[in-house]
C-alpha cells in the first residue's frame, strides 16, 4: 500500500475508533453535574495514565541507556517529567482541588485513581486481546477452508 492511502486509512481508522463514543455522547442524556464529573474523570485518568506510563518508560530508559554508554540525561529528564505529573496531580487533588471526586483528600483520590486505572486498563487490554484473537481466528479459518 502506498504512503498516502496508508495515512488515509490510519486517519479514518482513528475517526472510526472514536465514533461509538460520539454517538453515545449525543444519544445519552447528560446533565451539567455529569459534565463536570466527566471532566474531573478525564483529568484524573489523564494524569494517572501519564504518571504510570512515565514510570514504566523510565524503567525502559535503563535498557536504552545500556545500549548508549549509560548516559544519565535521558532518564533524569524522563524522571523530571514523571515528578512534574505527580506534583500537578497532588496539587489538583488536594483539599478543595477540582479533581477531588468522592474522596476526602489527596491521598485517597490518588489511590482511588490507581485502582480505577487498573480496572479500566484491564477492560481495555481485554478488548485489545479479544480483537487480536478474533482477527487471527478468522484469518486462520479462511486458510483452513481453502484446503
Amino acid at each position: 500500500m502506498s504512503e498516502t492511502p496508508k495515512q488515509r486509512v490510519i486517519l479514518i481508522a482513528g475517526i472510526v475508533l472514536i465514533l461509538p463514543s460520539l454517538v453515545l455522547a449525543i444519544t445519552s442524556n447528560t446533565s451539567e453535574a455529569d459534565l463536570s464529573r466527566g471532566f474531573a474523570r478525564f483529568a484524573n485518568a489523564f494524569l494517572t495514565t501519564y504518571i504510570l506510563t512515565s514510570i514504566f518508560l523510565i524503567v525502559n530508559m535503563f535498557r536504552y541507556s545500556k545500549s548508549r554508554n549509560e548516559p544519565k540525561a535521558p532518564w533524569i529528564g524522563m524522571s523530571y517529567a514523571a515528578i512534574l505529573g505527580i506534583i500537578v496531580s497532588v496539587l489538583l487533588t488536594s483539599q478543595g482541588g477540582f479533581l477531588l471526586e468522592d474522596n476526602s483528600g489527596s491521598r485517597a483520590q490518588i489511590l482511588t485513581n490507581v485502582v480505577h486505572f487498573i480496572v479500566t486498563a484491564s477492560a481495555v487490554l481485554a478488548t485489545v486481546a479479544i480483537m487480536i484473537f478474533v482477527a487471527f481466528v478468522n484469518i486462520t479459518s479462511r486458510n483452513q477452508n481453502k484446503d
Binding site: P5, G14, A25, T49, T120, M131
Partner: protein
C-alpha cells in the same frame, strides 16, 4: 489508623510488589526476571485476596470484581486460544475438530459476562459489594463494551484495508462490534439487575471520559519519552566524525555477509 495499615500491608504493598515484578521482566538477567515472576504471582495473589483480607478498604471491591469476572474471561480467552491454535497455522497445537469447541467457549464467556449483568441469580458470580452494586462493575462494563465496539469497528476497517482477502475477518469483527454497541444502547434504555438507565448513562459518560483521558495521558507520556531520547541523540556526535573503515574491517564485513547469504540460485 489500624485499618489503613492493614490496607497498606495487604492491598497497596502487594500491588506495588506485583508492579515491581512486571518492571523486572524488562531486565536482561534471567535470575531477576524469575524473581520478578515470583513477585508478580505473590503480589497478584495477595491483591486478589484483599476483598477477604481487608474488606473494610473501599479499593478491595476491585479485587472482588476481578474474581467475579475471572470465570467469564477464562472462558473467552481459553476459547479464543483453542480456536486460534487449531487453525491452519504452522504452530498448530490442537486438533482442527476442537475449533468449534473454542468458538463455543468464547460465546459462552461473553454470554456469561452479560448474563451476570442482566440476572441476579445465586449460581452466577455476585456483582454486589456491601449490599450494593460493586462500583467497579459500573466502571468495567461500560468501558469494556465501549472499548470493544470502538476497537472492533476500527480493527474491522484496518483489517479490510491493510491486507488482501480479509473480508470475512473484517465482517465478523464488525458484527461482534455491533453486538457490543447494541448491549451499550440496550443498557441506556433498559434497567437491568444491577443498574438503572440513569446510572448506566452516567457510567457510559464517565467511561468515555476515562478512555479519552487514558488515550491522552498515554500519548503525552510517549511524546515526552520520544523528546527525551531525541534531545540526547541530537547532541551525540554524528557518523561523519568516524574514520572510514580500514581494509581489514571491510574484509571482516565481507566475510560476515558471505557467511550469512543463503538460498538457492535461480539462474
Amino acid at each position: 489508623m489500624q485499618d489503613e495499615i492493614r490496607a497498606a500491608l495487604l492491598l497497596w504493598i502487594p500491588l506495588a510488589v506485583a508492579s515491581l515484578g512486571i518492571a523486572m521482566q524488562f531486565r536482561r538477567q534471567h535470575s531477576l526476571q524469575n524473581l520478578g515472576k515470583g513477585f508478580l504471582i505473590l503480589g497478584g495473589i495477595l491483591y486478589l485476596a484483599s476483598f477477604l483480607t481487608v474488606p473494610e478498604s473501599p479499593s478491595a471491591a476491585s479485587s472482588a470484581l476481578i474474581i467475579a469476572i475471572i470465570p467469564a474471561l477464562l472462558l473467552i480467552f481459553v476459547g479464543l486460544y483453542i480456536a486460534t491454535f487449531s487453525g491452519d497455522i504452522p504452530v498448530r497445537r490442537f486438533n482442527p475438530k476442537l475449533r468449534s469447541l473454542g468458538l463455543l467457549l468464547f460465546i459462552c464467556g461473553l454470554a456469561l459476562l452479560e448474563t451476570m449483568n442482566w440476572h441476579d441469580e445465586k449460581w452466577l458470580p455476585s456483582l454486589l459489594w456491601e449490599g450494593e452494586t460493586n462500583k467497579y462493575w459500573l466502571i468495567f462494563r461500560p468501558t469494556f463494551l465501549l472499548a470493544m465496539s470502538s476497537i472492533l469497528f476500527c480493527g474491522s476497517y484496518v483489517v479490510k484495508h491493510m491486507g488482501e482477502n480479509r473480508n470475512d475477518a473484517s465482517r465478523n469483527m464488525f458484527i461482534l462490534g455491533v453486538f457490543s454497541f447494541g448491549f451499550l444502547l440496550l443498557g441506556l434504555y433498559t434497567d437491568n439487575a444491577y443498574t438503572t438507565t440513569n446510572q448506566f448513562s452516567t457510567s457510559v459518560w464517565l467511561a468515555t471520559s476515562d478512555l479519552f483521558g487514558i488515550l491522552a495521558g498515554f500519548g503525552l507520556s510517549i511524546i515526552v519519552f520520544t523528546l527525551a531520547i531525541w534531545q540526547y541523540e541530537r547532541k551525540r556526535s554524528g557518523l561523519g566524525d568516524l574514520s572510514p573503515p580500514s581494509s581489514e574491517q571491510l574484509e571482516l564485513a565481507a566475510e560476515i555477509i558471505r557467511k550469512n547469504l543463503g538460498g538457492e540460485e535461480n539462474e
